[in-house]
């Protein structure tokens, strides 16, 4: 009996210690992270490729961080206040923060970053922060003053907008500053070494402002160019984490079943990418709404989700991502229906010829790899079924970008990050005054609808969350009925990581968070 008791006790103790090990973060350890492609550089603001962001966000920090619902939380800003008219944002900064070179972090750095640095180097940030006048109240207080309300501002202090050291950059040529090669930030990890073609090494910042953090000693970002090899490296435990496009989706499926690996699809709420096909509405037959609707009916969004994106996608119903607080689910639905598609085409007068061909159009595919090739190939096959012959136009990244921004396409396929707030990421594609030839990710299609313009513009300056929801809801209904673009799917990027790694995806930035509290079990 006694022995049984002690046995049970032993089991209990064992379980307890196991649970302890699960819960108590361990100090130390080296995180091996996949990074691909090798970024050209990791200076924030200058290098904004998605692969540059992973190391950049460990070195640099922003004022705020965001949870999965895009609610702001303090970071370098201890607290903040927004005036009721929505014109004045006051941030109180932390006092015990130091740059990696030992200099103190102050309001000057913030003012320099948002008033000067980002405006020059980062076009997307410029679009937001040009609206504001940034000034310093005291060493640890800054104020952003707006001319008219811009509600998305509070959601704009993330990935793109990390703070850089004023004392190293002010008055220099930002792009040629020698510190770009060994960036100095305030983040939990310091830049140590970049072995070109092999890895970037970040070392623990012992002076980090959050006491006792970070847990990890090192992070190695290793450039592993072959997707299959990346999967293998996770499988064998050589690598701890891979994310976004690092892995082929069917590999993710396979890896997710392995006992030592976990998969999450969270952490991309801020980006909220949607895959769509944009049509050049200046050209026949795309100018005809029935043709666009017919194509919506001809395409099977479920096929994109299930076969091409291997389940790592959601069917997109409209221009706003379903993770956004402004998402409107109640819009006209386009379930695949070939009869309806054909009827619409017939109604337009596009009759099939002897070969069943009604018309021939061109699709400019996104040159970002096999998944995109497959998407284009499926589109061709699907549309062929209703008599629309599609010629695929090959391209390279430069060619794609050039042709798309110069409106030199019939249809172009890509994905756009809608960035949580429609005023940041959605309206740019539909506003008629954003038809800027030569500029990428504007209204390339030439969509122009005064009603839509009015709704978007009103929503952007409204400070009333409910009103904004209402306005965006209306816009979504109009755009979906118009089939202004062919929405396919919302991308869901998986992050696959070793179960030994904890606190990986804790907010809207997912693996692009600072990793200050990430830790590795033995």
């Amino acid at each position: 009996m006694k022995s049984l008791m002690s046995f049970a006790l032993a089991i209990f103790m064992g379980m307890a210690s196991l649970a302890m090990a699960e819960e108590a973060p361990r100090r130390g350890g080296t995180l091996q992270s996949v990074l691909w492609p090798e970024p050209p550089g990791i200076m924030t603001g200058i290098y904004t490729q998605s692969s540059a962001l992973l190391p950049t966000t460990k070195i640099f920090e922003s004022l705020l961080t965001y949870d999965f619902n895009l609610n702001p939380h303090p970071n370098l800003a201890e607290s903040w206040e927004i005036s009721p008219d929505g014109l004045k944002y006051t941030f109180k900064l932390r006092e015990n923060v130091r740059w990696h070179d030992g200099e103190a972090f102050t309001a000057d750095d913030v003012v320099f970053t948002y008033g000067d640095y980002l405006i020059e180097v980062h076009p997307r940030a410029r679009a937001v922060f040009e609206r504001a006048q940034v000034s310093k109240l005291d060493d640890h207080t800054v104020v952003f003053e707006l001319k008219e309300p811009f509600a998305p501002l509070i959601r704009s202090f993330d990935l793109c907008c990390l703070i850089v050291p004023e004392h190293l950059y002010k008055g220099t040529d930002f792009r040629k500053n020698p510190n770009n090669l060994a960036p100095i930030g305030t983040g939990p990890f310091k830049f140590d070494e970049w072995k070109r073609g092999e890895y970037i090494h970040l070392a623990r910042n012992d002076d980090y402002w959050r006491d006792g953090l970070p847990y990890l000693d090192d992070i190695y970002y290793r450039f592993v160019p072959d997707a299959a090899s990346r999967a293998l490296a996770l499988e064998t435990g050589q690598m701890h984490i891979a994310t976004q496009n690092d892995l082929e989706l069917f590999d993710v499926d396979r890896l997710s079943k392995l006992p030592h690996l976990d998969v999450t699809t969270k952490g991309w709420e801020w980006g909220s990418p949607i895959v769509w096909i944009e049509m050049n509405l200046r050209k026949e037959p795309f100018s005809d709404k029935r043709f666009r609707q017919a194509m919506m009916y001809a395409l099977d969004q479920n096929y994109f989700r299930d076969v091409i994106f291997q389940g790592y996608a959601k069917v997109a119903t409209g221009p706003v991502h379903s993770a956004s607080p402004f998402y409107e689910p109640d819009v006209p639905a386009y379930r695949q229906d070939l009869k309806k598609a054909e009827a619409l085409l017939d109604e337009m007068g596009l009759k099939p010829d002897a070969d069943g061909k009604r018309t021939t159009i061109k699709l400019l595919g996104l040159p970002y790899g096999e998944m995109w090739n497959r998407s284009a190939e499926y589109t061709r096959q699907a549309l062929r079924k209703v008599g629309i012959e599609v010629i695929l136009e090959p391209s390279d990244p430069a060619g794609w970008a050039t042709r798309t921004r110069n409106w030199d396409f019939e249809m172009t396929m890509y994905f756009l990050t809608t960035m949580g707030d429609p005023a940041l990421g959605v309206s740019r594609t539909f506003l008629s005054d954003n038809r800027k030839q030569g500029v990428l990710f504007t209204n390339h299609a030439g969509y122009a609808n005064p009603e839509v313009d009015a709704l978007f513009n009103k929503a952007a300056v409204s400070v009333d969350e409910e009103e904004r929801k209402q306005l965006y809801s209306q816009v979504q209904k109009i755009l979906v009925d118009d089939a202004a673009v062919l929405w396919l799917v919302e991308l869901v990027w998986p992050t696959v990581y070793n179960k030994k790694l904890h606190n990986v995806v804790t907010g809207a930035s997912g693996p692009n968070s600072s990793f200050a509290d990430a830790w590795l079990a033995e």
């Binding site: 497959r374 096959q381 390279d396």
Partner: protein, 270 residues
Amino acid sequence: MHSWRIGVGAVLLGLITVMAIAAPLLAPFDPMAISGPPLLPPDASYLLGTDMLGRDVLSGMIHGARVSLIVGLVSALCSAGIGITVGAIAGYFGGAIDRALVRFTEFFQVIPSFMFVILLVAILTPSLLSITLAISVVIWPPVARLVRSEFLTLKTREFVEAARSLGLSHGSVIVREILPNAMPPVLAVGSLMVATAILTEASLSFLGLADPNMTSWGYMIGSARPVFRHAWWLSVFPGLLLFLTVLSITLLSEGLGDKSNPSLRGQAGH
């Protein structure tokens, strides 16, 4: 002694050619159409399995033969045209013309030619035409060198002098006397050019420089590369067919040229 090579080569190549010509009749499915579930291993209805989109691999391979053979043949013809012209003029006339043309040829030999092909195709954007053109531009130097050296030897042959002393013009001496005698080795090298061109096209497609509106073997292998560890049939079968095609042409060429000189193998082939 080499007749078995010609035999085996011809039979293999013949089969592949028939396959290419009769592709629509032979292929069980439309090679582009999604005809089944994706990534199905070889089974009774999809003999060689299906790809990532559920397209039939066998049908793709059968249709892919067309691209390979067309690119191979047309590029080889074009490059033979360039090579013969350059080589014949250089070899026959000699002197400064020869030196200039030899430099010109050398230049194209020195260029890391596969990089050059990649560059050309990328610039012109991948299409059947641009791929063929780019390949032709780089694979001709071996032909030119060979034709030149044949001409250098043949032009001193007495029958050439005899023809000249019979009053034939330079043009007809080149075309009617020398060229036919230079042809056998040129034919051997020319057929190797076909193999080189096919391999180069496949390599380009493998790297993603393919005409997306055509099914080609290299493209099939290249696009299956991410999944090749799991769906081995996607890379292995098209590669095997590519290998057999190149092998058959090489056999044929060896049989034709007999003392085949490896230095005549094209520059860009891999």
